[in-house]
């Protein structure tokens, strides 16, 4: 397995050339996995011709299909965006281009980011390369599979309640959700504006850090983006051994025994290096899922109101304007999205808003406060990434509550706006399982450094051969 930096060293020697790498990545695209909605070979080749020198020179990147690339269809895995081609690129896309990265394709997702399995896609489910009968996780399942199966060196996803981290766990990869505001959201199709962040899925911490250096930073087009200075996120080899890592007891409840042991293995390895662990408590953990649901569904119901077929997308003509919109949206959205829009509409409605939306906002602040408090005692938190490894396709599709189970570990981080990274802890049978490191706001370098240390002392042995033998 090669890192981005290693590839670039090899490019200088011409073995392989960027074009060779691109071709080999394209060959590894396995249609049966259904990771891609659109493969953009021509676009990638054109990018290589430009040969822009930069941190990502010659590196094929997969992009979740809810991030706009100018001139390339954006579907969000939804029929409602049928035929839509954006006339602009997301800020992160422009930054990757400026750094020489090339785009291999738009990857599959749960419709509009709403789901945890990449099954709820108009384009069919994506399959986990470790076990075709299992989900890759979601909603950034396509991006995770692209990297895990070797067809992309690194990918971008989006994380609203865990959508980058959970697939990373299920696919043996490193998945980072940055601090809210660290990466511009301009050009990311909004699901829940106050929770969404563009995230990175890669093979290792250094690659992810390099990509973060490229895409992070203030963007005047995104009023919620932070002006805080950037760090050298790819430089991860220095880490203080005096750090204290907290283990929130609530995150270790309701998980498989094997998941518990895998995470404990990582803990042991870090303890050997002199890092100390401490048990902490986050009592609001039980309220994470319902709070996340209320806020994300409410914002989604508003963000998705623009899909009316007037300016773009699917249109089914009705008798009058409202009828046309209703028919278009009925046909355009899959059931999960409809569910969430309707619930979101409900929690914002005048008779319910105080009890639901406004209350959820208060609980959100409590959750955030709790994290702030705990970070006074410890530097980072370590938790399992998911309560189980990848589950079977079809297992949870029809259960709106069970689908959120893994969100318990991940959504608290989105509610509080803090950064978190998931990395492989080990294998449970054929399936990878991840651990999660959570940090204070803007601590991306710190949490990635912990992952880097683990990579050195307890390297993951579960890469698929398409990646391993690369």
């Amino acid at each position: 397995m090669k890192t981005i930096i290693e590839y670039q060293k090899l490019f200088k020697k011409g073995e392989p050339t960027p074009s060779d790498l691109l071709s080999s990545c394209l060959k590894k695209i396995n249609p049966s996995l259904n990771a891609y909605i659109t493969v953009t070979e021509e676009l990638a080749r054109k990018g290589l011709e430009k040969d822009i020198k930069g941190k990502l020179n010659g590196i094929p990147v997969a992009i979740k299909d809810n991030i706009n690339i100018k001139g390339v269809p954006t579907t969000c895995a939804s029929n409602v965006l049928k035929g839509f081609i954006p006339p602009f690129s997301a800020t992160v896309i422009e930054r990757i281009e400026k750094n020489g990265g090339v785009f291999i394709g738009k990857t599959n997702l749960d419709e509009f980011g709403m789901g945890s399995s990449t099954e709820r896609s108009f384009y069919g489910p994506t399959r986990n390369p470790y076990d075709r009968a299992k989900v890759p996780g979601g909603s950034s399942g396509g991006s995770a599979v692209a990297v895990a199966s070797g067809s992309a060196v690194i990918s971008l996803g989006s994380d609203t309640g865990g959508s980058v981290r959970q697939p990373a766990s299920y696919c043996g990869l490193v998945g980072l959700k940055p601090t809210y505001g660290r990466v511009s959201r301009y050009g990311l199709v909004a699901f829940a504006s106050s929770l969404d962040q563009i995230g990175i899925i890669g093979r290792n911490a250094e690659d992810v850090g390099i990509m973060l250096e490229v895409i992070a930073g203030y963007d005047p087009k995104d009023s919620t983006s932070s002006k805080k200075e950037l760090e050298d996120y790819g430089n991860l080899n220095k880490i203080s051994k005096n750090i204290k890592i907290g283990l929130p007891e609530e995150y270790f409840e309701q998980i498989d025994d094997e998941v518990y042991s895998s995470v404990m293995e990582i803990k042991k390895a870090l303890e050997k290096e002199g890092i100390s662990f401490k048990s902490v408590s986050l009592p609001t953990t039980d309220y994470i899922i319902p709070t996340y649901q209320v806020i994300s569904y409410a914002e989604a119901s508003s963000n998705l109101a623009r899909y009316d077929g007037v300016r773009y997308g699917l249109r089914r003509n009705g008798e009058n304007f409202h009828d046309t919109i209703r028919k278009s949206r009925d046909e355009g959205f899959l059931p999960e999205v409809k569910r969430r829009i309707l619930v979101g509409t409900f929690v914002l409605s005048s008779e319910a808003i105080a009890e639901y939306y406004e209350r959820a906002d208060l609980i959100r602040r409590l959750i955030t406060q709790e994290f702030n408090e705990v970070f006074k005692e410890v530097d980072y938190l370590m938790t399992p990434a998911t309560p189980t490894p990848a589950f079977p396709i079809g297992d949870r599709t029809d259960d709106p509550i069970r689908m959120h189970l893994s969100d318990r570990m991940t959504a608290g981080v989105n509610l509080a706006g803090i950064p978190a990274v998931v990395a492989p802890a080990g294998m449970i049978g054929k399936l990878p399982i991840g651990y999660q490191i959570i940090g204070k706001p803007f601590e991306e370098k710190g949490i990635l450094s912990v992952v880097r240390l683990v990579e050195k002392i307890a390297p993951f042995k579960g890469f698929l051969k398409e990646v391993h033998d690369d």
Binding site: I67, P86, A90, D222, S223, S301, A305, Y307, Y357
Partner: protein, 462 residues
């Protein structure tokens, strides 16, 4: 019919005079080809985010200040959710619970009309109708608007028009908005109810689609009649939207408000709170000029003569001095006299309000004569000395002591027996002559008012 009193409140939407739209850099212009001033943001494409126009904020603050509102250093944008062809995102970004300005007022024909709030919001697109479909042009989508809402303080269609005209003038003269109704830059939506009982309001209806002041007057007059008609027959006025037709000059009930739309307002997650620096507000306030007419009205209320009020308010410098002096010495009429005559004839020099007040007070208290006051003023301008110093140095204090003056008056009477006889015979204008003689004798130091009084009294005795 006359027992029913109308109560009117008005909502005005005014387009701000900015170069670009509220949340994107698209140009704002009138009369250009359809869909030529549109970008991904104002088209509401997937993935776009709003970016707030600085100038729009400043103009909104200016509007709030011009309407004597309290400007809030923290205000919050909100989403108003509903579906309509001219609304690209399916929601409008506006301000709801925390607008930029509240609690203002303006005077309309002497009556105080309270301004409930002023807030920023984005404009919707424009639609045109063909036989078989409607056409949408997004050039207007996202243009910055301020919404100005009054309390229901307006009590007649005529006053409503007066309010609108005044508001329009304020917005135009301060450069906040072109406010041309015909261009759609100034839209008003009055709401109106009638009631016989004092303190109790009737059911309100809203009047829409008004494109001229005349339409405002006619529609409100017509609606008052309609509502009274219903009530007199013992019926109930239902909440409704009223449409006015320019052609027929009649109003009709367009839509009953059965179910108020649930706009599901919530704070806009894409925009952090708008924080405004106090200093910035002061700066904008400085740049804001009160309309001369405003000032004039205000001064007349204070008791100035109309002519004097106009003279003072038409000069920034003089009116500033007037107001500052007034803060120290509450004698508006008196101060205005000095400003209109002596100060103006000196060509509006730089003097301090404190000194001016001091001088005027001395005259009022009789410490110096009016003439002496004029001298002091002239000297103040030349030398920058204080009135006290000048009076002392030039020995200008007046003799007001009546016994001393009586003495002088007696002397003058004795020296001018002929004139005294004529005065006693009824030629009262000779009082002035005697006052003049006393002034000569006292080298101008006598208080002429007092002298005049003494002369009038004494001539009877002689």
């Amino acid at each position: 019919m006359t027992d029913y009193k109308p109560t009117i409140g008005i909502e005005v939407h005014s387009q701000l005079k900015t170069a670009t739209k509220l949340f994107c850099g698209c140009p704002v212009s009138f009369g250009v080809d359809a869909n030529t001033n549109v970008c991904s943001v104002c088209l509401g494409l997937p993935g776009v985010l709003p970016s707030l126009n600085k100038k729009a904020v400043e103009l909104a603050i200016k509007a709030g200040l011009a309407l004597n509102c309290e400007i809030h250093t923290k205000s919050i944008f909100a989403r108003k959710n509903y579906f309509y062809p001219d609304l690209p995102k399916g929601y409008q970004i506006t301000q709801y619970r925390f607008p930029i300005a509240t609690s203002g007022e303006i005077l309309v024909e002497g009556k105080k009309i309270r301004i409930k709030r002023v807030h920023l919001e984005e404009e919707s697109a424009k639609s045109m109708h063909e036989k078989d479909c409607s056409l949408i042009d997004y050039n207007r989508s996202g243009v910055p608007l301020i919404e100005i809402v009054t309390e229901p303080d307006i009590d007649s269609p005529e006053m409503a028009v007066a309010y609108l005209k005044k508001l329009q003038k304020i917005l135009q003269s301060t450069g906040i908005s072109g406010a041309v109704m015909a261009k759609g830059e100034f839209r008003c939506e009055p709401n109106i109810s009638v009631s016989k009982e004092k303190g109790k309001l009737g059911t309100r209806t809203e009047v829409k689609n008004l494109n001229s002041f005349r339409a405002v007057k006619n529609s409100l007059t017509s609606e008052i009649k309609r509502q009274i008609g219903i009530l007199e027959k013992g019926g109930i006025v239902e909440q409704a939207t009223i449409h006015y037709s320019e052609k027929t000059e009649k109003t009709r009930v367009a839509r009953l408000k059965e179910e108020a739309s649930d706009y599901r307002y919530f704070p806009e997650p894409d925009l952090p709170p708008l924080l405004i620096d106090e200093n910035r507000i002061r700066e904008i306030e400085k740049g804001l000029e009160e309309l001369p007419e405003e000032k004039t009205e205000r001064y007349i209320e204070l008791g100035l003569l109309g002519e004097d009020a106009i003279t003072i308010s038409n000069s920034k410098k003089t009116s500033k001095l007037f107001e500052e002096t007034l803060k120290i010495l509450n004698e508006p009429a008196e101060i205005s006299k000095w400003l209109v005559r002596d100060y103006r004839s000196l060509n509006e020099p730089d003097i301090s309000a404190e000194h001016l007040a001091e001088m005027i007070e001395m005259v009022l208290k009789g410490k110096i004569s009016r003439n002496a006051g004029a001298e002091v003023l002239a000297e103040m301008v030349k030398t920058k000395k204080t009135p006290e110093q000048i009076v002392r140095q030039r020995n200008l204090s007046q003799i007001s002591d009546s016994s001393a003056l009586e003495q002088v008056v007696r002397e003058v009477f004795e020296e001018n027996p002929e004139e005294l006889a004529r005065l006693k015979a009824g030629e009262n204008k000779l009082i002035g002559f005697f006052v003049g003689e006393v002034m000569k004798k006292t080298s101008g130091k006598a208080d002429p008012k007092e002298v005049s009084r003494i002369v009038s009294e004494y001539e009877k005795k002689y």
